[in-house]
Structure formats: C-alpha cells, structure tokens
C-alpha cells in the first residue's frame, strides 16, 4: 500500500482517567488510498466521528500512529496541523458551516486568506470554484439568500478552492431532501472521478454510502468491516 494517503496503525482515542476511562477508538487500523472515495458508517458512539476528526487532522490519537502524506500527523502541534489542513484538506459539514451575512464568494475565499494569497488571485479562484459547483452568478448571495443545497455547494466550493488532496465530508447530505442529496453526491463523485480528489465521508444512509468505492463500518470503537468486497470481486 505505497499509495496510501491516510493510515491508522493501532489508533486509540481515550477520554477520562482510570475506571471512568472511555475508549472512543480502541485499536483501529485503516488505510485510505489516494484517489479513493470512502464512506464511513456506524451507529452513533461507534467512533466514526472521532476517526473523522483525526483523519481531518482536527484531533490527534491518544496512542497509535496517524499517518497523513507520509508524516506522523498525530505528533504535529496545533499550528502545524492548521498548516496541513489549510494546504491539503477540505471540509464539508452537515450544517454547511458558512459564515453568516457573508457572500458566497467571500466564504469561498476564506481558506485562501489564511494562505496569504493576494486579493485578486483569491477572487478568481473563488469564482472558478463556484462555477465548478454550478453556482456561477450567485457569488454575491449570502447564505440566507441560498437554499440548503446551494449552501452545501458553496461549502464544497470552499473545500475545493485550495485544490486539496483530501476532502473530509461529515454527513454532507444530512440536512437535505433526497433529490438535493443525490445532486450533491453527483457533484462529489464527479470531483473524485475527474479531479482524483480523495474523499472520506461519514454518513448513516446506505444509498448515500453506495456512491463511495467502499464503506468502512465502525462498531464500539473498532472497525467492523473494511469494505474491500468490491476489490476482491
């Protein structure tokens, strides 16, 4: 597995001390290859959100190794992880998480601001990303003026404007109706297929998970299934 982008080696994530200690992750091994589209499923409390936070470099394991792009991301400090996220990871959340009262274009520009990109370049990149998600002409709308589906497209544009290596999506269709959900999934699948964008997506809906190449299932802080059946076939 030389082309692995994300690797977990015996990853534990524990909270609390002694008797009251809870293991959100209890020895997880996984690998996500470059260009792969992986769905992560599991009941609540199974550890899927915790592992997503670690995959997104928002959190670090208590023990074990979290490899990202051949670095031991678990050993990086807050600032180093911020740099890593800014350069290589895009985020899409269930609640869209756009800045309110801020236009679509400005929302999309946000990660580029923290890269120190000049305003002109930033604006162009944002316009391009918005066009790519099918929102050309809506650059100056604020989130309140956009539908849920459109807001999620803005969020996707914000995630891809930095040309990331990995897209982390946390229940991206959780707040959308069936039709919008499928539109968003078409968009993500297209990005995976055409741009080679690696996607790790948490979901609890089977038909949404079916868009992915494989599904990793969590149960009680451990992986119940790595979902390699497609490959072995």
């Amino acid at each position: 597995m030389t082309d692995a982008l994300v690797t977990f080696t015996d990853v534990w994530k524990s909270y609390g001390q002694g008797e009251a200690q809870v293991h959100a992750l209890a020895g997880v091994d996984l690998a996500i290859r470059k260009g792969e589209f992986v769905a992560i499923m599991g009941p609540s409390g199974s550890g899927k959100s915790t592992s997503m936070n670690i995959i997104g470099c928002l959190d670090t394991p208590t023990s074990g190794r979290h490899g990202f792009l051949s670095v031991d991301a678990g050993r990086l400090d807050r600032t180093q992880r911020a740099v890593l996220r800014n350069l290589y990871i895009g985020f899409v959340f269930q609640g869209y998480n756009l800045l309110p009262r801020t236009t679509a274009a400005e929302n999309v520009e946000l990660p580029l601001i923290y890269r120190g990109m000049p305003a002109g370049e930033r604006r162009n990149a944002a316009m391009q990303a918005l066009a790519q998600v099918g929102l050309g002409g809506r650059e100056h709308h604020t989130p309140a003026e956009l539908s849920g589906g459109q807001q999620q497209r803005v969020a996707i544009a914000r995630a891809i404007v930095t040309r990331p290596t990995l897209l982390v999506a946390d229940e991206p269709t959780g707040n959308l109706d069936t039709q919008r959900s499928h539109e968003i999934m078409e968009l993500l699948t297209g990005l995976n297929r055409d741009e080679g964008l690696t996607i790790a997506m948490v979901t609890h809906e089977g038909d949404i998970a079916s868009y992915a190449d494989r599904t990793i299932s969590f149960l009680d802080g451990k992986i119940a299934s790595q979902g390699y059946e497609m490959e072995s076939a």
Partner: protein
C-alpha cells in the same frame, strides 16, 4: 491580510451598531473629558499669558504677607498703608508709576437698575500702572484723590448696562452706601483668562474708597511699574530693601510683605489650572478603565457568539494567531472608534467653552495623538484576554457549538 482583518472588524462593529455605541460610551466620555479639559486648560493658560503680557512683564505687585496656617510665621502681620506707598514713591528710581489699590465687590445702583461690580479705590498713577485708558471725560486729579471727593469712572460694561448709548457724564450713581458723580468712562479690556469681566468696574479715589466703602485706611495692593529696559529682578530687590528699612524689620525676621513680578503670578495661575486638569485627568482615567472593561465584556460576548465561526476558521487553516489578531483588531477598532468620537466630542465641548469664556480655542495635536494612541492601547489591552480565549478554542468543540 491586516487590511482584510480591519475590514472584517469594521463590519462586525457596524453589524452590532447599537451595542457597539453603548459599549463605547465609557471610552467616549473618558477621552472627551481629557480632550476638553486639556484644550480648555491650555486656552486659559494662553489667555492668562496674553493678559499678563498685555499688562507688561515689568509690573511688580506688592501685598501684605499673610500668616501661614500653622501659625509659625516668622513675621508680624501688618497690612499695607499710605506710608508704604509714600516711601516707595520717594525712594524708587527707574519706575514709571507706583500706585495703591483697594477693592471690594459692591452693589451699585442707578435709577431703578442695579448690579454688582468691582469697586476699586486708587490714585492717579493707576492709569499708567495698570494700563487703563479714559475713553470719555477725564481721570481724577491729585486734589480729588487727596480730598476724598465723590467722583468716579465707570467701565464699559456698567456704562452699557446703565446708560446704553446715552451720556453717563455727571450722572450720580449709588455705590454701596455712598454715591459718586461720573467724571469719565474707561476703555474696554474684555475678559480675563478666568472669564472675569474686567470692564465691570467702578474706579474712585483711594481715600474716597477707604472712607466711604471700606471704612479703613488699608491698601490691598501696591503696583510698581518699572521702566522699560530696567531689570525687574533688581526692582524686586529694591522694593524689598526699601520696605524692610521703612518697616524696621530685624535681619532675623522674614518679610511681612511679598513682592512678585507678573511672571511669578502667571506661573501661579497656570499651576492652578494644571492642578485642576490633573484632577479631571484622574476622573477621566477611571472612566477609561470602565470603558476598557466594557470593551472586554463585549468582546467576550462577541467571541462566544462567534464560537462556530472561530471553529470554521480554525478548521480551514486559520492559526491561533490569526484568530487572536482578528479579535484584537476588532477590539482596537472598537476602542479607537470610541477615542475618535471622544476627541470630536471633547473638541466640540472645548470649542463651546472657549467661545463662552472668551478664551482662545487651543486644540493640541499632541494630546489628540495621545488620545488616539491611548484608546487604541485600551482596545489591545482589554481585548487581549477575550481574543486569546477565542484563539485557544478547540476547533472540534467550536464547530459543535450551537
């Protein structure tokens, strides 16, 4: 990037306009108080200096020394009298005029009108010593001074009040319990640096004043006007020597009089203003402290309200320092805005006061600059803790925040 942050901060302030303005009141009031006080203070000082330079720096003022409150004075209290004036007149060379003056605030009446005025008893030399001109009629004569005649000159304020544009000469006015005939009017001098109307005055012969108004033989002040080019320091020494000799003061004893030149008096007056400014400065300081706490409070609210936003920013790659700077800039912009409003308000107040008190409007660039820097500093200092709190948030928790 910084410009970006400033724009962001301005937008956030504008979005919560009402809240921002209320938060800023402390800063606005504090800065306005400082600016107004310092501007009025320096206007007053300028006016006092101007008045004194008009009087001429070659004027000496002699007064009886007052016992200090502890009662340990090493002199015998003795008020000034005619013989002090005579001995100075006799022995001083190189002086233009030596003049005695006694004053009292007295009610004066003409027909059905009455007003309170400064009534001054003096001699013929007074006009030279204090630089008064006679605009109508004449000054009093040596004979009138010696004889204690009931004649007087009136200042422009009284003239206008009692006679309008009519002729005041030879009219009789009541001054306290006595009356006098107006023989002339004085040229106008306007207001002093402390807002006192110098033209609200009645001038009469010293003897008349002593007998009919004061009921004693004392003189409050002796003015010595030194010739141009003569040394005031020398003159002060001469006056002291003559007075000590005439009053028979033993070498071991202190002067029971004081001689001061106008520069010293100007300093005394200015220091009174400075003391007042200092006191109000302290009040303003408290107000600024309260304003700073207000800013800290509102920034804490702002950070809490925008926890989710902070989470988003941290997730997509903002560093701790980016968030810190964002909220620090916001606090600084907020308090700087307060400072600017305060400066505008303070200058407005000072301008109003200046025209009301007839003093020069003297805004100081230095103090305005200090106010700007200081209000920015308040924002940084009091905004730091809330900003740090925002910057230290865990992105996962912040994103989960409702």
């Amino acid at each position: 990037m910084l410009w970006e942050t400033i724009r962001l901060a301005l937008r956030s302030v504008r979005r919560n306009a009402m809240r921002s303005v209320l938060t800023l009141l402390g800063i606005v009031i504090g800065v306005a108080a400082v600016i107004a006080m310092v501007t009025i203070g320096s206007g007053t000082t300028a006016k006092v200096r101007e008045d004194i330079s008009k009087l001429g720096s070659n004027l000496l003022v002699v007064r009886a020394a007052r016992p200090d409150r502890s009662g340990n004075s090493n002199f015998t209290v003795r008020r000034l009298e005619q013989k002090d004036l005579d001995v100075l007149n006799k022995h001083l060379d190189d002086v233009r005029a030596v003049s005695g003056e006694s004053q009292s605030q007295v009610r004066i009446v003409y027909g059905a009108q009455n007003t309170a005025a400064q009534v001054t008893g003096t001699d013929t030399e007074y006009f030279t010593a204090r630089d008064w001109t006679v605009s109508l009629g004449r000054a009093f004569t040596e004979q009138e001074v010696r004889g204690g005649t009931g004649v007087c000159l009136i200042g422009q304020t009284i003239r206008t009040q009692f006679f309008g544009s009519g002729d005041p000469l030879d009219e009789i006015i009541r001054v306290g319990k006595t009356s006098c005939r107006i023989i002339g009017t004085l040229g106008s001098k306007g207001y002093t640096g402390f807002g006192q109307d110098q033209d609200n005055l009645v001038l009469m012969p010293l003897t008349t004043f002593q007998r009919r108004i004061a009921g004693n033989r004392y003189i409050d002040t002796i003015y010595v006007s030194v010739n141009d080019g003569a040394s005031t320091t020398q003159a002060v020494a001469d006056v002291s020597a003559i007075m000590r000799e005439a009053r028979g003061i033993q070498p071991t004893r202190d002067d029971n009089f004081e001689v001061r030149d106008m520069t010293q008096i100007a300093d005394a007056m200015t220091s009174a203003t400075t003391a007042m400014t200092g006191m109000l400065g302290a009040v303003a300081g408290v107000s600024l402290l309260v304003g700073g706490i207000g800013i800290m409070n509102i920034m804490l609210v702002s950070v809490t309200e925008r926890t989710r936003e902070i989470g988003i920013r941290l997730a997509i790659g903002a560093h701790e320092k980016d968030i810190l700077i964002q909220f620090l800039v916001e606090a600084t912009v907020l308090s700087l805005l307060g400072g600017l409003l305060g400066i505008a308000l303070g200058l407005g107040l000072a301008g109003g006061a200046a025209s009301f008190l007839a003093i020069p409007f003297a805004p100081s660039a230095t103090i305005i600059l200090i106010a700007v820097v200081f209000s920015a500093l308040i924002g940084m200092v009091f905004g730091f803790f809330p900003a740090l709190r925002g910057a230290r948030l865990n992105p996962i928790d912040a994103l989960r925040h409702e």
